[in-house]
Amino acid sequence: MKKKIIAMVAAVMLCSAGSAFAAASEGSKLLCTAAFLKLAGEGYEIDYADADDLTTSQVKRYSGNREADVTYAAVGVAVEDETKIRVKVFDENEKLIEEDTDVRMAVASHTPKWTGKFAYTVDVYKNTDFCFGILTK
């Protein structure tokens, strides 16, 4: 019974996460959804999701105001096989406060001590489609 409920919740989360990546191709959508589901298991939920492509000479920046005492995970997922992706978090003074680089998925978490502006950048080590999400706990 418990397993059935977990499977149902996972299925609903899968549809929900898939919907968040509406703009992505089917393959990318599945991959991004699976990566985000992994974090959902750790108590995170999707607050924002985007899908796009990047070359190695580009960086994509996301900025916005964030609430104090809420834990955020900025997640980048590279769709191309064996591709390193890097996510950085900056405060309003452009000071780097968190960074993660990894193959396929990078996660940079932060819990702001004050409410204010933060920015995230994503760049890749190989041209690839990618998705980016801001998850909260």
Partner: protein
């Protein structure tokens, strides 16, 4: 032989250097996307300092009729109102206020129907109502249902091209509730909202050319001027007046 070895070493060295340069060389910024905070995050943050119950006191338990959903509403205004309802529902669920949650979820379902939302989306809202009516703990409903509902709702509004209106509704309502709660408890919550998460300038820029009603533009301009660290009681009142003006002109 020796020369070819040296050449090989140099080539490998160059390759590594190339990788390092490739990773750290200045990159061209493709595009900056501004991500306004969702009402879920705004409400969660405000709840931490003001408490959900205090926050929920400011929620108006308005019917679908009062929102104009029963008599027909434009996609712009409808999306704005969906944003307000999302913020209200998030707040009242966290506060455990069953009556106000039911009112918000009912109006949300009627609003989505009036705006021509796909049936599965409306059904998922109706299922939230069933969970509330069935006595499920409202915090559990908030934790399990809202993160699932939101991407579908966002997706629907995005397809209609009205995301900015929904976000404006979410932001004005979350800010209004936070300012009202702040007045009751005399905390710095108002300052945090008007300084830290003041999105008025963003909306003015984002919605330029969308022919926002004058009252909404004026309200946003007044709010943008209040983005500062020290906020007086009179300024909180002025901010609430501006928020009311925006909500009124968008209704």
């Amino acid at each position: 032989m020796r020369l070819s070895r040296i050449a090989a070493v140099v080539a490998v060295g160059l390759m590594f250097a190339g990788t390092a340069i490739g990773a750290d060389a200045p990159k061209q910024e493709k595009k900056t996307v501004v991500v306004p905070p969702s009402s879920r995050v705004l409400v969660k943050g405000a709840t931490k300092s003001a408490g959900a119950k205090r926050l929920a006191k400011g929620v108006k338990a308005a019917s679908a009729k009062a929102y104009g959903f029963t008599t027909g509403v434009s996609e712009e205004k409808g999306s704005f109102k969906l944003g307000i309802l999302l913020a209200d529902l998030e707040t009242t669920l966290l506060a455990g206020d069953k009556d106000k949650s039911l009112k918000a979820v009912d109006t949300l379902a009627e609003g989505l129907t009036a705006l021509g939302a796909p049936t599965p989306l409306v059904i998922s809202v109706v299922n939230i109502k069933a969970a509330i009516t069935g006595g499920t703990d409202l915090k559990a409903v908030s934790a399990a249902s809202m993160p699932v509902l939101r991407p579908f709702l966002d997706d629907f509004v995005k397809k209609e091209g009205k995301t900015a209106y929904q976000k404006l509704g979410e932001w004005t309502e979350s800010t209004r509730l936070a300012l009202l709660a702040s007045q009751q408890q005399k905390s710095n919550l108002a300052g945090n909202f008007l300084n830290g998460v003041n999105m008025a300038s963003y909306f003015l820029e984002e919605m330029k050319g969308l022919n926002l009603p004058q009252g909404a533009t004026d309200g946003l301009t007044s709010l943008a001027a209040l983005e500062k660290t020290k906020i007086t009681g009179a300024e909180v009142k002025a901010a609430l007046k501006a928020l009311a003006a925006i909500q009124e002109t968008m209704s």
